[in-house]
Symmetry: C2
Subunit: 390 residues, 2 copies
């Protein structure tokens, strides 16, 4: 009669924030972390330190768990298959997760389902530059080169003007490559849904995501000015993909909004940066929703708690003493919510996020940006404050 133990492979901030939801639900979270000072390892008592790319470490960690889920996409598929063959439910399962682990597998499957995607092709190892030349002739320039596996936060993606030797160099390093048409998008959106083994689905409001240098810096929920039709289309698309791919847990579908409609950019099958706003801005946080889904519990309400919620990521800046800046941020805006990840601050690293809520979108964005910029600190912010003090 003990509540279940959910194992999460990976000790990053997604596992850390899942712990907050596990505490409320009274379920036990066990984390497989790479190091004892990983973001989640600092806040979860049941930590196994190990390598989540090691089959032995993964199997040892999973023993005694009732279900295993993932903080990232980097656990090798064959290890997940081994877990499944041992009788342990992995959610999402290896077959679904393959589509979040390999961008080419994902593109082929989605195209097969008729889901709109940018034009793409696998880059052949022999004479890749000639291949890219032909691809560019058909789909235009620039070109988007992507490592099929292992990328995140803009890593593993290269935008090149044309064939310039980059593909050849990457292939020589052993990187499996695909090429995609560069999409001239209006903006990026994300549709976050959850699906349970029972088959229940739940969709959050569609959000706008703002990226800088391949890193998500801001999320606006709901996406301002998005038509009801496009919002419904994005939600339906995400629910359909979750269903077709047999996803269990969360599915984040990153989308390009273009002149001619929506195109799928990426998939993630876990809590996602585009859903951090739900901790403060929705009745059920994405972390609670993920737990409910992988435990096959009925899904929670995705109703927003405010007309607009804006999440801004806090990146590491010039001065790592972020805590000393809480006093300004909290005094300046008593309603802004601060979420820090317990990670060492390094320039450009995602070390936390802030959330602001309200009815006045411009004001809410400004509040979230101010808090995130101030916590980040750095030369630019210091100069802005100096200017304002003059």
């Amino acid at each position: 009669m003990e509540p279940p133990v959910v194992g999460m492979a990976g000790g990053g901030q997604l596992a850390r924030m899942t712990q907050q939801a596990a505490i409320a639900l009274g379920v036990s979270l066990r984390v497989l972390a790479g190091a004892p000072d990983d973001s989640a390892a600092k806040v979860v008592p049941d930590v196994r330190v190990g390598d989540d790319r090691s089959r032995d470490d993964l199997l040892a960690f999973a023993k005694g768990c009732d279900v295993v889920t993932f903080d990232h996409e980097h656990v090798p598929g064959p290890h997940i298959v081994a877990l499944e063959e041992s009788g342990l439910p992995c959610r999402p399962g290896s077959a679904a997760l393959a589509h979040a682990q390999d961008k080419l597998v994902m593109r082929e499957r989605l195209s097969g389902l008729g889901v709109p995607c940018p034009a793409y092709a696998h880059v052949p190892p022999s004479d890749p530059e000639a291949f890219l030349e032909a691809f560019a002739a058909e789909h235009g320039r620039p070109l988007v080169l992507k490592a099929t596996r292992g990328g995140y936060d803009g890593k593993g993606v290269w935008i090149v003007d044309g064939p310039d030797g980059q593909a050849e160099r990457l292939l020589a390093e052993g990187v499996d490559l695909m090429v995609e048409q560069y999409v001239p998008f209006r903006r990026e959106l994300a549709a976050l849904v959850a699906r349970s083994p029972y088959g229940q689905g739940a969709a959050y409001p569609v959000v706008e995501t703002v990226q800088e240098g391949g890193i998500c810096t801001e999320v606006i929920a709901p996406a301002p000015g998005l038509s009801d039709d496009l919002a419904a289309e994005a939600q339906s698309l995400a629910l359909r993909v979750a269903d077709e791919l047999d996803v269990v847990g969360l599915l984040a579908v990153e989308l390009f909004e273009t002149e001619t409609g929506l195109l799928v950019n990426e998939l993630a099958m876990r809590p996602h940066n585009s859903g951090h706003w739900t901790i403060d801005g929705a009745r059920t946080s994405q972390f609670e929703q993920h737990l409910r889904a992988v435990l096959d519990l009925p899904l929670g309400s995705t109703e927003p708690t405010a007309p607009y919620t804006v999440m801004a990521n806090v990146l590491g800046g010039d001065d790592p003493d972020v805590y000393s800046r809480y006093i300004h941020v909290m005094a300046h805006d008593p309603a802004v919510k601060v979420h820090m990840y317990g990670k060492e601050s390094r320039p450009g690293r995602k070390i936390g996020h802030v959330t602001a809520l309200g009815a006045d979108l411009d004001g809410v964005r400004e509040r979230a940006r101010h808090a995130a910029d101030y916590l980040r600190w750095g030369t630019a912010m210091g100069e802005k404050v100096k200017r304002e003090q003059k």
Copy 2:
């Protein structure tokens, strides 16, 4: 430049829920728990197992903390003084906490401040029954006997029709006793405020609390139909008491609403059952607010997230397998929030709470009650369900 370590003496559900707030703020929570399976010990990595009534255990636990705070009122005052003399900030401090630890000290101080309280007296060890007879002649019957120290959840409180030997028996057992006038109240209210060392104060909306058998079973935020004047009076009273008593952290003031105005019933200087609704129902949870206060950070917004929030405590019932009943509760009401404390279910024990939010007060109360009753289960609920199924 590491964020601070907050030590909390006591490993109950208040420490457990404080961990959720500590995770977001990126501060470290260390807990002194009586046993490794205490409610908070299950979710906090930095646990010291010991006796929080032992001076040695308390001092060892506190070493390395930046500030010490409390999950309950039962740490002996002299031990807190010893901590303070070692230079460690205790928040609230021993001088303030004495008023939450000893009901007679509290009554004397509040009366001295002109804060309205029920008539009270210390029960003398010699001929207590004659003393009570005289008290009853002046203030009416029944009488409320209270242990001056150590009570909680209705324990340490006895309502007697008159002098019946109960006081004599308790005194013989070494219980220090006071007597209070029985207040014919309309209802019970609670005013929750926070105060920082800097002197900032913040008040939550005043709530109505419903008790059964001395245990809080339901909290309605804000208290329905409470006039703006009485609400402001209750908030001002609580802020004034916090200031006069130099409280740092949260102060919950339990109040009787009577025909002639407000009377103070009890004080607590910590997160309080009457504030659990704030996790889902206010922009800043009481647990985050307590951390902000004891860390001398600016206090957070107490703005509600819905017109009404109702919290119902989940008590242990006949069938301890509470988790198996999540499926009904969550399917029945996807927006109800479940908070379980990781405590073994025993009949009548507080093992969790649920929260419902919305604009329709009757509907919100019914939703919270249904979820709490169903999770509790028991003969009465089983019979109700059987009747409905017929």
